[in-house]
Amino acid sequence: MDAYLPYILCLVLFCIGIYAVISKRNIIKIIIGVIIAEYAVNLFLILVAYRAGGRSPIFSSTQEILPEAMVDPLPHALVLTSIVIGLATTAFLIALAVRLYGKYGTFDISRMRELRG
């Protein structure tokens, strides 16, 4: 069970984000839930790539580093892309929230539904 404990803690973080997205009514809280779930997914990929006692995937010109002693570099490269794309989607969500606040004067999604038409 101990070998799975970091994965389970990461899953708890993801579930907190999902819970915020489903049950919160404030738009900023929903955006925070999306951000937390995205962090958890990035963290999960990096956890999968970790090798016990491994080195970071950088060679050195002064000492010999075996490729077998490195952590998995492929998820690192993909997560780098994923983090930046996550920032782009977060910025778009925040822009939508600011526009909705300008239109309705509140961040509460249930009150926005009452005000409609």
Partner: protein, 181 residues
Amino acid sequence: MIELYVLLGLMIAGSLIAIEVKNLLSAVIAVGVVGLGLSIVFLLLKAPDVALTQIVVEIVAVILLIRATLNRDIAMKYCGRRPFGAIMGILFTGFVFVIALITFKDGLNLFGAPLMTVSQFYPQNAIEGTGAMNVVSAIILDYRAYDTLGEATVLFTAVVGVLTVMRSPGKKKEEDLQDSK
């Protein structure tokens, strides 16, 4: 790896505070705690490139969130509970948790023993193939450069989307009205 568990616990506590606290500015600051803890976790897991990117992205995200919440409903108005939504949220979240646990048992490699089936190609051939000492930069700038191009495209599309949404409406209509008069 006790420090990894301590940091993960800090991140879980920070995210619980972020989604339950009533003051929006405090919630945004708690998200900042989660993101900076995440970057330290990346450092512990031997991913320095990802940790640097995470610090920059986290600071920008917190600045954007503060910009969105500043002077707007800082203290959330209390407007009644929604017990049905909370119960459904807890049920669905528990469902996701159980399904993910079952899936962990089936196919996931143990923590600290990566699969390295495809990706062992990259550390073995990075220096001969690209000349880069950093394998991660060899992957994102050479082997998978199209991914980086797609990332730049997504960033550009997001900037265009934000500009379209934030553009102040009505100016052009007034000009049109004056022209028609």
